[in-house]
């Protein structure tokens, strides 16, 4: 069953078109990583799924309903980002108890264990938490709410390395005990990739990749060697990234390389290596095939 469906969804802010004719579906009980550059439209998409924004055109269905002003969607969805706003008069324990009242599946035992593990004093105001601590607290809300649709928008902002690792592991373990649909956007794909089932990449307001993470790992291969030889086997349209190390030696990332092409390149002395998903997603979302080096080129 699909929990989220977007059909031809576009969103404009004034003259700025953020999402363009986006079509995606997300299946029930999966962890999807939403990847994209700053300004690609990730947050806009996630806010629309949570019913916080309406699309300019197109159709969004969450649990088969329109998420805007929809009590069913709000009760079954939590949206967590790094600047959740709470009433300045509320202390952490009051936020926790109001979450308990609102979310049917809220697990206060689990929330308390996490609160203790991460060393929170519940008598303080949310406003007084450091950036990393506030993100951690928000992430705990997102986990303990156990809503059928759980959305994390850049949840790890400000968290230190070990807290991020703990959070991802807690997310995976709790997901296995209580399967639900989780969408998580992040810049740090390499820390997140192993727990993802699917990856969705957004570039300039459209979805350019949406597939199982394991397939994405074999989406492209990196070639390193004499560029003239590489050019003979691989045509321009399949090149995702190209960087010259010397005048003729190039590092080229290509997609859809067949087995016979791989053998052929091997015989030509071209080295083949895998491309890490984080690296590949960077190349896919670059505006040019040469990346930052193109800026420094004298033409």
């Amino acid at each position: 069953m699909s929990v989220v469906t977007c059909q031809n969804v576009s969103k404009q802010f004034g003259s700025n078109s953020v999402l363009k004719d986006l079509n995606v579906t997300i299946q029930e009980n999966s962890i999807t990583g939403l990847i994209g550059r700053n300004g690609a439209g990730k947050t806009t998409l996630l806010q629309m799924l949570a019913g916080m924004l309406a699309p300019t055109s197109g159709n969004i269905r969450v649990f088969e309903e329109n998420p805007i002003d929809n009590l069913k969607v709000s009760a079954n969805t939590i949206f967590v980002d790094d600047d959740l706003v709470f009433s300045p008069e509320m202390k952490l324990y009051e936020i926790l108890s109001s979450a308990e009242m609102f979310y049917d599946n809220w697990d206060s035992e689990f929330a308390n264990r996490l609160i203790r593990y991460f060393g929170f004093q519940t008598g303080v105001f949310h406003d007084n938490l450091s950036k990393g601590k506030a993100s951690t607290f928000n992430a705990i809300l997102g986990l303990a709410a156990r809503t059928p649709l759980t959305i994390f928008d850049e949840p790890t902002t400000g968290m230190d390395y070990s807290v991020r690792q703990d959070f991802y592991r807690a997310l995976l373990k709790d997901y296995m005990n209580h399967p639900r649909t989780i969408i998580i956007s992040s810049h740090l794909l390499n820390e997140l990739e192993s727990i993802l089932e699917d990856i969705m990449i957004i570039k300039d307001g459209t979805c350019i990749v949406h597939e199982p993470m394991e397939d994405f790992k074999t989406y492209a291969i990196a070639l390193s060697g004499d560029y003239e030889k590489i050019e003979k086997v691989v045509n321009e349209s399949r090149i995702i990234h190209r960087r010259f190390i010397s005048s003729n030696h190039a590092y080229v990332v290509v997609k859809e390389l067949s087995g016979s092409e791989q053998d052929c390149l091997k015989q030509l002395g071209v080295t083949q290596t895998s491309v890490e998903p984080a690296e590949l997603s960077m190349y896919l979302t670059n505006e040019t095939k040469g990346g930052i080096d193109d800026v420094f080129k004298q033409s």
């Binding site: 999966s30 995976l172 296995m176 394991e214 790992k217 091997k266 895998s274 890490e276």
Partner: protein, 127 residues
């Protein structure tokens, strides 16, 4: 085992290979229940769908079989099947690559055979 996330080998293949090694080393015996996808996901900190993919490869390879509602179990002829397949697929592929490199370096048959024999002897001497 620690997974190599940078390897060209997909994670689920690494999981399948690790499970095969566990069977070959008698850490998991024939007829015994295999780890579930959730146990593997927890052990290696990976998505359970990835772990399931690793288990399903071993069903395709006739190493595991499914018992409805009970999970996956190790087949009686699991070890044999692992060895046969590794010989026919992995080893043959490695030999193919070896021969390709030998051709590239214009190494004659006798010289190549001699190298193989020598390395085998060295290994036997060590053990």
């Amino acid at each position: 085992m620690v997974l190599n996330h940078d390897s060209i080998k997909p994670i689920y293949v690494q999981i399948a290979e690790w499970l095969e090694t566990e069977i070959l080393n008698d850490h998991i015996s024939t007829g015994e229940k295999m780890y579930s996808q959730y146990q593997l996901a927890d052990m290696f900190n990976i998505n359970p769908a990835t772990a399931a993919k690793g288990l399903n490869i071993l069903v395709d390879y006739d190493v595991l079989y499914k018992k409805r509602g009970l999970g996956m179990f190790v087949k009686d002829e699991a070890k044999e099947n692992i060895l046969i397949r590794r010989k026919n697929e992995n080893l043959k592929q490695m030999v193919r690559e070896l021969v390709q490199e030998a051709d590239y370096l214009s190494v004659e048959d006798e010289e190549l055979m001699e190298m193989l024999k020598q390395i085998r002897q060295e290994r036997r001497g060590q053990s």
